[in-house]
Amino acid sequence: MKNFSRAPTVCAASLFFVLPLVIACGNRAASGNTQAATPDLNGVWSAPFTPDISKALGHQPPFTPYGAARFAKEDEFDDPLTKCLPIGPARGIQAGIMPFQIVQTPSVFTILFENQHTFRIIHTDGRSHPKDVDPTWFGDSIGKWEGDSLIVDTVGLDDRTWLDTAGHEHSDQLHLVERFQKVDNNNIKWTVTFEDPKFFTEPWSVTLPIARQNTEIMSYSCEENEKDRAHLRRTKK
């Protein structure tokens, strides 16, 4: 592995933010401070690669006329991932191809994506969303535990992310509600609800199984040896 990971692919900023969380989690685990009633979802996980989320839904989402028109003309050429932009909170789970690691403490639930070495921080300390949220790639996420599940509420999402590879888009009014339900030590039932009045006439949900992986998240940099952009061609005229 040391040869494989030789390239300087780890963003220094990511380490700055993430390392303290990992260390804090380790310290709490060592001191036994983790709340006993809270399900333990720490570990490396992966969901089935779902490049077209409508396949998991069984049909296309309930588009508004605007949403339908956007989807009809969307071209994979414009996928933000082709520009090595962040993958976004839900797509990172269902279409990130690579596994992700959950690191949880009593106050935060962190998802570390191998894809692009990006991460989500979900606050579980009882706070509310800020009044005015400037859109960001992963939005503002707050979570609360309900029995065997973590319920995550996310707003303030940058409309440049896509929901999948097939070109399902959203606006900055997207509201995500996710349920991470612990089935057993090796399985999570993940249900995500998409609500966006600009793109969809009503909220819609998909459920995917998330399974524990016997691996570690590895290094990744989209820009390390990016050679494709010059060869990409539009698929629609």
């Binding site: 690579m98 990744y220 494709d228």
Partner: protein
């Protein structure tokens, strides 16, 4: 660093059935032509086991005797590492046969679906071919709606 195969997927070394197209940062259709499959036999000149996709290069002699250096794109190194690939799986001087799809821009670039190694094994390179995704047809995985 310990890195084992996924328990869930049950990956074993070079399992050809695990051949879902796995493009890390772009779809298939935006770069490669599914209607233009090709098979190339040549000599490896260089291997780039790097993100976001592996690239390797083959000197291929054409019918006219001219040698053309082709670029072959495989899956993300992380993904195919977990399937058994290593950076020295292909070495300069190896003579291999690859199957894939030519780039739409007509350059000497192709996606690489499988590689027949010098020892005869045909292994997935992580792109192209049929998808066994649970949620997404091969066409969808290849970027077609």
């Amino acid at each position: 660093m310990k890195t084992k195969s996924s328990v869930t997927l049950g990956l074993s070394f070079f399992l050809l059935s695990v051949s879902a197209p796995v493009f890390a940062h772009h779809g298939f259709a935006v770069e490669f032509d599914k209607d233009n499959p090709l098979t190339l036999t040549g000599t490896v000149t260089k291997m780039e086991f790097m993100n976001p996709h592996i690239y390797f290069y083959l000197d291929v002699k054409g019918k006219d005797g001219k040698v053309v250096n082709w670029a072959l794109e495989g899956g993300p190194p992380n993904v195919i590492y977990r399937q058994g690939w290593r950076k020295d799986t292909l070495k300069p001087g190896d003579v291999v046969t690859v199957k894939g799809f030519r780039a739409k821009d007509g350059t000497h670039l192709a996606s690489c679906s499988t590689v027949q190694l010098p020892d005869g094994r045909e292994v997935s390179a992580g792109t192209g071919g049929a998808s066994k995704n649970a949620y997404g047809s091969a066409a969808a995985a290849d970027g077609k709606k």
